[in-house]
Symmetry: D3
Subunit: 171 residues, 6 copies
């Protein structure tokens, strides 16, 4: 069975990694959908889709996850919820299930007839992307403990922290 795991991954944190591992114990192949691919350079969405693809890829390699079992595919938004499943389906190989806890994603895929796999709330209280981004914008290094080691490295290498600190300045 092939399943989707959609998210914005701004950034890809340890909770996301736990979901990937949990999923790979249940499905043959996992398609990580990097959503809102067109967004970047804001405090809410600091990284480009390509930067997120790179960070996820490095994290998976660093964790020794078999890349032959994973696809990482950026998908831009479409401003029509009722066509979103069909839109995503265009960008990815055929799949049978979706891994998500998000209410909107669940409703849309259920109405489209897909199976929904709900992962446990891995470290939900600790790994919250909003908090991680707030620390990044403040330049507080505590964000580094919340993401896989390889993600922290690539984020620093790509200059994302400097970008976020600039973006958080006043006009």
């Amino acid at each position: 069975m092939r399943a989707l795991f959609p998210g914005r991954f701004q950034p890809f944190h340890k909770g996301h990694l736990a979901v990937v591992k949990w999923s790979l114990e249940r499905v043959d192949e996992l398609v990580i959908v990097v959503g809102s691919a067109q967004e970047s350079h804001t405090l809410q969405n600091p990284m480009t889709a390509g930067e997120r693809v790179l960070a996820i890829r490095r994290a998976l390699e660093d964790e020794g996850i078999d890349l032959r079992k994973v696809y990482i595919i950026p998908v831009p938004d479409i401003l029509m919820n009722s066509a979103w499943v069909a839109h995503v389906r265009t960008y990815v190989p055929p799949f049978e299930a979706v891994v998500t806890r998000n209410p909107l994603v669940k409703v849309l895929f259920e109405e489209a007839g897909y199976e929904v796999l709900e992962p446990p709330p891995f470290g939900r209280e600790k790994y919250v992307a909003t908090n991680i981004r707030a620390l990044m914008a403040l330049g507080d290094p505590k964000w580094e403990e919340m993401v896989p080691r390889a993600v922290a490295e690539i984020i620093k290498e790509l200059g994302i922290i400097r970008r976020m600190r600039e973006l958080s300045k006043r006009d």
Copy 2:
């Protein structure tokens, strides 16, 4: 060095595969950009982006190419040539060069300051996507010899031939 290899890959044929191998002798990582990602279900563009991603992936695996050196990323069209390079750049990891023989792609990436690597015209006379699609629509099995074995299999498995034969009927 990381390089892009953009194409529509309708379908991914033996000439494309030769370019991938040629590129991987020259660069560290190759990003295969599956262009016109929004197109499908026409005789000119029969496969969805996700179907093309799957076909390319299977071909690379079948050829024993190291997946850690390759990214396969679908990118939709943007109706503005002068912003196309920046648009593509959003979807992919940072890169320094582009592998192409296409005049428009060359002009756009050169004007944007990228290095262009021009591969030899591998089997240009034999592997022409337009001809391959014509054979597919006719149901003539000669198309199978023009694509990597794994691509032929996945195309049949996905029902692309049946789709093309239906699409070529008269109203």
Copy 3:
């Protein structure tokens, strides 16, 4: 005279029905424009355009309104207020007036030279779409009294209440 009556109709309530009746006493034909047609599956816009068209149609039939005097036409948003009147005009038969109390709609149609018919604020304090949607999301059946009987039936038949309750869950 033919007039437009634009709204989002999320959902079509008794105040809307009163406006339709008021209008049909003043004009020969009424075009009900179901706006923001691309929106659905959110707490703010739960129903698809087609579901809203169906609900309105059933309400009009149930009330014995002559369907030959009414058009129900979904229109998606255009992100340009100054071209919105021309955009709407494309989707509907020629018209001379617009029925509205909305300040933006009034300004845009007045600047375009159309007559504006301002209906009385029918049950404004009782029939507020925001409140109706809040009750629907809570599963509180009081919303049913605020919409025409046929609308309540079709909303339940289409599973809109279940959809809204799912959407209002936490991640």
Copy 4:
């Protein structure tokens, strides 16, 4: 059962009317989808969506067809065939089948799991929209015999012939 009947209806001719009648003998309700709604003012697509809605409505009334069994809904194009069914579905009430002879429409709805009803080729050799438009642009009144009487009247009333004759002039 509710079924869709999609077309561009540039203009709605006697062959289209025959399909509507044929369909209403087989389904409870018919949704006439006026496609390419955004197109108008060209020789290929002379009428706006609203003008086409009006022409179809008048033809149905003139033929004594019960309007309670028919929906006429304009739908703009989406540049993604694989999401087109979901896009159309947003604009219309729930349906189970589609009435069409068009190969692309058939493939897309079949892949989406809908039943396809194929009507006979009513007067295919006589009622060809391309020919009708050519006569209209030439100002040759023979086009009038090819469309329902009410359509001919509304086309003349709306000034479509004059528009087409202007558009066919040389720069």
Copy 5:
């Protein structure tokens, strides 16, 4: 009176310049609308909107035309003819007339209630943008005589000839 003069100006030639002069004898201010602003880097549309703005500006200055009487404003396409006038109107100061010989432009502005000023066919047989572009792509310097001197200079300075020669190569 203020009037529009819409065109693609690929490139701005001596016929266009004659229309500008003819117009400025009849109206107080002229708004030159550089249409299809999103197009560039093709043989049909080689120059970006900004390059065309620059070329027109230089030509007007070189001819001693008072810049206080002219606006040069790029406008992207909108894929909806019936909303095009409203779309253009958004980008430009209020105006009363349009200068054009193009049938579609005439029909659209006349239906919107604007006055149409039809200029004489200045050197129609000599100054044809299609022919000028063909000469440019061939590298034949005869194109230079067909455009104002300042336009020829800026085209060479911007590297447009080299771009067109590259674009006209075979894959």
Copy 6:
């Protein structure tokens, strides 16, 4: 050197005028980019792009600024920050620098390799567009002192105050 000065100019106020003058002491030509060109008829964005172009033009003329050194070019939004610089570049003549104090604009142009010229915060406490628009919507004439005289005149002439007062009414 040619530089860009991007803004929304809702409306163009005395602080903006000071930046234009400051820039023209440092660069040869200034391109005033009227951003969010597609927005209008809201309290946040009351004026169309064309109305803003007209207001800026009148202000520059009234101040005796040489129009041969200035371009005023409307540019619509693109929903992709990482492609925004390339998008803007399409609409304007070639340039080397950008005049801005906006953090996002700085980050985007710096990442694209452009020089950023940061003007002093001219009358920052006095000339705040948000406050000016609030006064305009209230009908408080104090806004007139905050914009160049010619801008105040054209705003009144175009009926912008009346439009804003209408838009600020309750439904």
